[in-house]
Amino acid sequence: MTAPRILLAGDAALVVEFGDRVDPALNREVRALWRAAERAAIPGVLDLVPTYRSLLVSYDPLTTDPDELRERLLEIDAEKGSLDPAASRLVRVPTAYGGEFGPDLPFVARHNGLTEAEVIEIHSGTDYLVYMLGFSPGFPYLGGMSPRIATPRLTTPRLAIPAGSVGIAQQQTGIYPVESPGGWQLIGRTPLRLFDSGRQPPALLEAGDSVRFVPISPEEYFEIERGVRSGLEALAEGDGGAA
């Protein structure tokens, strides 16, 4: 890999750019630099934001010289090595497909000339890469969905989509972390909380994780949901931190 480009983003941030495409290898370079820069704990650096293809480095402009920071980042990049594949997490996301949890599953099946069971099998039969978080708190940009279940967005977006909904929009699949309006085709729902501001870290997933959707029954959905809720209650009472 050639050295990245380092671009000015005003007087308080630099962008370390590895390319302009969606590519797991390129994203791995971004994450390797992210991890290495975090370990380096560069004084004056306030935030590191990994994306598909670049790392945004925010710094305190009163104490940090961008030329020196640029040199330091290039040094760290040259020495960063590659990420240990064994260190990446596989996060299983239990998902109830169809029915009230995924009202658009029949449409996605029809659109692709498949049965509902085949859509579930294809969607849950692949591991997805979390390229980055963004769009809304805790929202994972997932890569790796089979084109066999690609489906256009709804023509009229829904006003309120429940948190945890798993959807498809064109070639992408995603999970809504919080209740929000949206136009994705909903095929299922997970009882896990993707974002909880009282948790550390607040997001369930992070860039570089692998995600596997695991089909569960409605009964299992409600059982896990009760568990998640009592865990949150315990957290709210202050005794859940160690649990």
Binding site: L7, L8, A9, G10, D11, A12, A13, V15, E17, D20, R21, V22, L46, D47, L48, V49, P50, T51, Y52, R53, S54, L55, L56, S58, P61, L62, P66, M132, L133, G134, F135, S136, P137, G138, F139, Y141, P177, V178, F195, S197, G198, P201, P202, A203, E206, A207
Partner: protein
């Protein structure tokens, strides 16, 4: 303790501080006061720490009835503040009595004011900050703007009063006006624009659109020519980033911006001018001027010195007294060290 009842929330009044640091990786924007200088100044005048939470008022301020004595300070936009029947000037602190009402007649200069209460507005800290991010209902007062019936609280259970009313020298108070000269540094994607596109951006007058809010300032004006379309694979959103959409119009990314975006960014507003842009109201005009990093740093240092002066030269302040005491103590310590070393 409760210091005030909200009789009317105003247009969009939220609790803000200096924002969340280190949460963009989770998709959580920094939020915080749009005009940081106004937040810092209000806190300095009210005798607070710089990161105390304040109310950020937008164009139409709230109506607050104080239920306990309190020292309050206003900085930033002049929104026509009144305490009961008397005008309440901006960039000053004053002690109010229980039963008095603070209200706002309407915007006179600027868009956003910060109202600090001595002791700091007390709401739970969420992800390291008290700032409100309404889109995800995070922080502040249940993650939403103030509404009638809300109560404002400060920490502790006794009223906190600052002995002397502080006021900024009127010569030091900013005037925002309606034509804004905003300095930018080209990039990060300036190479995605034609030379003519960059020239248009830097020589034209843009108008602030009606939808300008905490997320972004959408501007309208001459079309900025793109070299190769407006779309990029999403990358991080810096504060003040100037996105250009497919129709060639700029949007400046503000405190509640999406953490990543897929539009090309022609330039980035320098730190000092982000807060000045936040004082622009719909219909105001903006002209962008390219500067170097060195010029941006000089502007930032001057700005920091100005803020320092607010913290120390305001009339008769407890803070300044403490600072003077610290300076005297430091000088005495330095003299003692020099005396001892002189004998060796």
């Amino acid at each position: 303790m409760i210091v005030a009842r909200v009789l009317d929330g105003g247009l969009f009044t939220t609790v803000q501080d200096l924002g969340r640091v280190g949460c963009m990786r989770y998709g959580v924007p920094p939020s915080g006061a749009m005009d940081r200088a106004a937040c810092l100044a209000a806190n300095a005048l009210a005798g607070n720490a710089p990161d105390a939470a304040v109310l950020e008022l937008t164009l139409v301020g709230p109506r607050l009835e104080f239920t306990a004595p309190a020292t309050i300070a206003l900085a930033g936009a002049n929104l026509g503040a009144h305490l009961d029947d008397e005008p309440f000037g901006c960039w000053r602190a004053a002690t109010v009595r229980a039963g008095q009402t603070l209200w706002f007649a309407g915007p006179e200069d600027g868009a956003r004011a910060c109202l600090a209460v001595h002791g700091g507005i007390d709401v739970p800290i969420v992800l390291g900050s008290r700032s409100t991010y309404t889109r995800a209902r995070l922080g502040g007062l249940d993650g939403r703007p103030l509404a009638a019936g809300d109560r404002l609280e400060i920490a502790g259970d006794v009223p906190r009063i600052l002995a002397d009313a502080r006021q900024l020298d009127p010569a030091e108070c900013p005037v925002y006006g309606h034509a804004h000269d905003i300095r930018v540094i080209p990039g990060p994607q300036d190479d995605r624009f034609t030379p003519a596109g960059m020239a248009t951006f830097l020589s034209s007058t843009y108008t602030v659109g009606a939808g300008a809010d905490r997320m972004g300032y959408r501007l309208a004006g001459p079309r900025i020519e793109l070299a190769d379309g407006a779309d990029i694979v999403s990358d991080g959103s810096p504060a003040g980033g100037v996105q250009v959409t497919g129709d060639g119009q700029p949007i400046v990314l503000m405190a509640d911006r999406g953490t990543a975006g897929g539009y090309v960014k022609i330039a980035t507003v320098i730190t000092v001018d982000i807060g000045r842009l936040a004082q622009a109201v719909p219909g105001d005009t903006v002209r962008f001027r390219a500067v170097t990093i060195a010029e941006a740093r000089t502007a930032l240092r001057e700005h920091a010195a100005w803020l320092e002066r607010i913290g120390s030269t305001v009339t008769g302040t407890a803070g300044a007294t403490a600072a003077a005491r610290r300076r005297r103590a430091a000088a005495a310590a330095a003299a003692a060290v020099a005396r001892i070393l002189a004998g060796r």
